[in-house]
């Protein structure tokens, strides 16, 4: 029992000494998914104006670059209807489900 208490105490100290948690990017991925399906999928579906695009189409770093630098410059109007938080939410959703993100470990 004593050892367990020592272990617990050490870990607690470690935790408080460690760097603050990095919230991924401050966006809400569930809201982002909802916005993406409502607004973006219209053009970014198979046969659509923007061509088929899913979160798996890019890696996390590629999505970050797109939102930091490109900002949808081929059609800037697409972004105009979103608030800053909306854009962050969409970015978080795409980031969280990117090609190199964690995937559910199921068959099929």
């Amino acid at each position: 029992m004593k050892n367990a208490v020592k272990l617990f105490a050490c870990l607690t100290l470690m935790i408080f000494a460690a760097t603050a948690v990095l919230a991924a990017q401050g966006g809400n991925p569930k809201k982002g998914k909802y916005l993406y399906k409502k607004e973006c999928k219209a053009c970014h579906d198979a046969g659509g104006e923007g061509g088929k695009l899913t979160p798996l189409s890019k890696t996390q770093a590629q999505w970050d670059r797109f939102f930091d630098k490109d900002k949808h410059k081929t059609k800037p109007d697409a972004f105009k209807k979103f608030s800053d938080q909306d854009v962050k939410d969409i970015q978080q959703f795409l980031f969280d489900h990117a090609a190199d993100s964690d995937q559910p470990e199921t068959c099929g």
């Binding site: 029992m1 367990a4 870990l11 935790i15 948690v21 470990e105 199921t106 068959c107 099929g108």
Partner: protein, 599 residues
């Protein structure tokens, strides 16, 4: 004048053209230079991309994984060890009385009064025997027990007699390391390979085998991913997915299945769904086939998938000395449905229904048995003092099983996750049972022994020699039993991470296939009783977290996680009313802290 005018006009017209010509020449030169530069750069980049392409094309497996280091502090309260042999004292009477004048046995016959008198006489007149009884209290009640039977039937009793001794077991600190290496490879546009290698060990042990003190001690195919073995990587899963077969929504997947860490057990692991089948019913490594259909593509319900899964849990011939043609056993086949009704990232609803046919009385596994069969009659009656490893295999098909469940989980917008799962098992036992004494399908079948010798050793203690009579006392064979379980929990965002609480309950006959859960005390979801868990996860960064938690087990019935043996009330074993081959735990605490890094 006209001529001059014409000349001037011509000059004016030519001048800009000439100037432009000069500008043009400059621009074209610039452009040519730029194009040359770009071409050189392009060649350079092309060369570098070629190298990358070559590496990617030949480097076919994508690796990822995680490493978890964990410390557990385990405290078992009120453990009872009530092991004994069922002895037929009728047959033993001659032997027991022989050291003190054999002919008396013939005279006594079945007469209780005479027997009582003889026993009293023995105790009173033979000092060595009196001392032996005093030193081994089990003898006295055993005598009393068989003397209590009506005349003509001295009957059977448990020897040594069950006691009501309880003790606590503390394992102050146990460290384990778990390494999981995941593999993904692309076979073709619609065919993928997935796999996972797994190392799970406790610090200081790489033997791969344990001394058996419960069913969790076996090293066996179905539980290797959740049972510490050693510093070797075992293949936990390896399968291919052949999707969109012929352009349809069917998929086929064969191999060592992703059948551990299934929903809703992923929340306590702080990861995404870790397996396909419901983790409340199946947390077991097995090889099999899944045929799936993406119904969601037709109905529009996101994530809706219907799967039929099949596996073989026991191979009755190969590896069991089949060329001797001694075992007359059927393979154990498992098959059933696993349906994701909704799976849209917020709501998850899963239905499970499957059955196991011709369940064997044991899986193939290794363990060091504390007892040994020294006289070759198939029943262990002595001590395994050499700590030899035994290879267990099924000896009888003991019945069939049905399992089913419904699970629902929801991930709210605000980060709160919660789940509720209900499950049911039904065992359909036949009249077969394990000849060694493990029992039938949720039934007891205890071998009856007889005393063949009774000596007093150098220390003055009696040494009883036992032999198997060929009879069994059975209880509960051939019955259908229903077991139930409920599992609920939630996880909420908390400062620096998440806080989680879980509770599960299992009824007397609850018999799931969750034995590969890596909880040290035993699969918490297989408990026949109550289990509560509380944990705090500190998300150090998106790829690393620390989990601190505690699990409290309150077992109500024995044999949690095992389909053999009749479950008994833990209280009855503690009160000496029932005996048990394995140690019986009443309550236990598992306080743990772990750190996991993902890569």
């Amino acid at each position: 004048m006209r001529k001059l005018f014409a000349l001037l006009l011509t000059a004016l017209l030519i001048a800009p053209a000439t100037a432009m010509a000069v500008d043009d020449a400059k621009t074209i030169e610039d452009l040519r230079k730029q194009i040359e530069e770009l071409s050189t750069q392009l060649e350079d980049i092309s060369g570098r991309v070629d190298k990358n392409e070559k590496k990617t094309a030949t480097d076919r497996i994508n690796w990822y994984g995680d490493l978890r280091v964990k410390g557990d502090s385990l405290h078992y309260q009120d453990v009872t060890v009530n092991q004994g042999f069922l002895v037929d004292f009728d047959n033993s009477f001659d032997t027991l009385t022989t050291p003190f004048g054999g002919p008396l046995a013939g005279v006594a016959g079945g007469d209780l009064t005479m027997a009582q008198a003889m026993v009293d006489g023995f105790v009173a007149s033979d000092e060595a025997f009196a001392a032996a009884v005093a030193q081994n209290p089990g003898l006295a009640p055993a005598f009393a027990a068989y003397l209590a039977f009506p005349s003509g039937s001295l009957g059977k009793g448990v020897f040594p007699a069950p006691t009501n001794d309880k003790f606590n077991v503390d394992n102050d600190i146990l460290y384990t390391t778990r390494l999981r290496l995941g593999m993904k490879a692309k076979v073709w546009d619609n065919v993928d390979f997935s796999g996972r290698l797994n190392m799970y060990k406790n610090w200081g042990d790489s033997t791969g085998t344990k001394v058996m003190d419960s069913f969790s001690s076996f090293t066996m195919d179905g539980t290797n991913s959740g049972n510490t073995t050693g510093d070797f990587l075992r293949v936990e899963r390896a399968y291919f997915d052949w999707k969109d077969i012929g352009g349809s929504n069917f998929y086929l997947s064969i191999g060592r299945r992703p059948s551990t860490y299934g929903p809703p057990t992923q929340y306590r692991e702080n990861e995404l769904r870790g397996g396909t089948p419901s983790g409340h019913l199946v947390n077991f490594n097995f090889d099999g086939i899944t045929a799936g259909y993406k119904l969601g593509e037709i109905t529009g319900v996101e994530g809706q998938t219907v799967r039929f899964c099949y596996g073989q849990g026991f191979e009755s011939e190969f590896g069991n000395g089949s060329l001797f043609a001694e075992a007359d056993l059927e393979d154990t086949h498992l098959g059933g449905f696993n349906i994701d009704a909704i799976n849209d990232g917020t709501n998850f609803l899963q239905f499970t229904l499957f059955g196991a046919k011709d369940v064997a009385d044991s899986f193939k596994g290794l363990a060091v048995l504390p007892f040994a069969d020294n006289n070759g009659d198939g029943i262990p009656e002595g001590m395994n003092s050499g700590a030899f490893i035994s290879r267990f295999q099924g000896q009888e098909n003991i019945g069939d099983m049905l399992l089913g469940g419904i699970g629902f989980s929801r991930e709210e917008m605000n980060g709160v996750n919660w789940f509720i799962s209900g499950a049911w098992t039904r065992t359909l036992g036949n009249n077969n049972f394990n000849p060694m004494g493990l029992g039938g399908l949720l039934a007891d079948a205890v071998p009856v022994m007889e005393v063949t010798s009774i000596d007093v050793n150098l220390a003055g203690e009696p040494v009883i020699g036992l032999e198997f009579t060929g009879d069994y006392v059975t209880k509960g064979l051939g019955e259908d039993r229903d077991g139930y379980s409920a599992y609920v929990g939630f996880q909420v965002p908390a400062p620096m991470g998440k806080l989680g609480l879980e509770y599960n309950y299992g009824s007397k006959y609850w018999t799931p296939f969750t034995q590969a859960q890596d909880d040290i005390i035993g699969s918490k979801l297989a408990a026949r009783g109550h289990v509560g868990e509380a944990y705090y996860i500190f998300d150090v960064n998106p790829n690393m977290f620390i989990k601190v938690g505690g699990i409290y087990y309150d077992y109500e019935y024995t044999g949690s996680g095992s389909p053999v043996g009749l479950p008994k009330k833990v209280e009855d074993v503690q009160d000496g009313k029932e005996f048990s081959m394995f140690p019986v735990i009443d309550k236990a605490w598992d306080l743990n802290a772990s750190l996991t890094v993902k890569f």
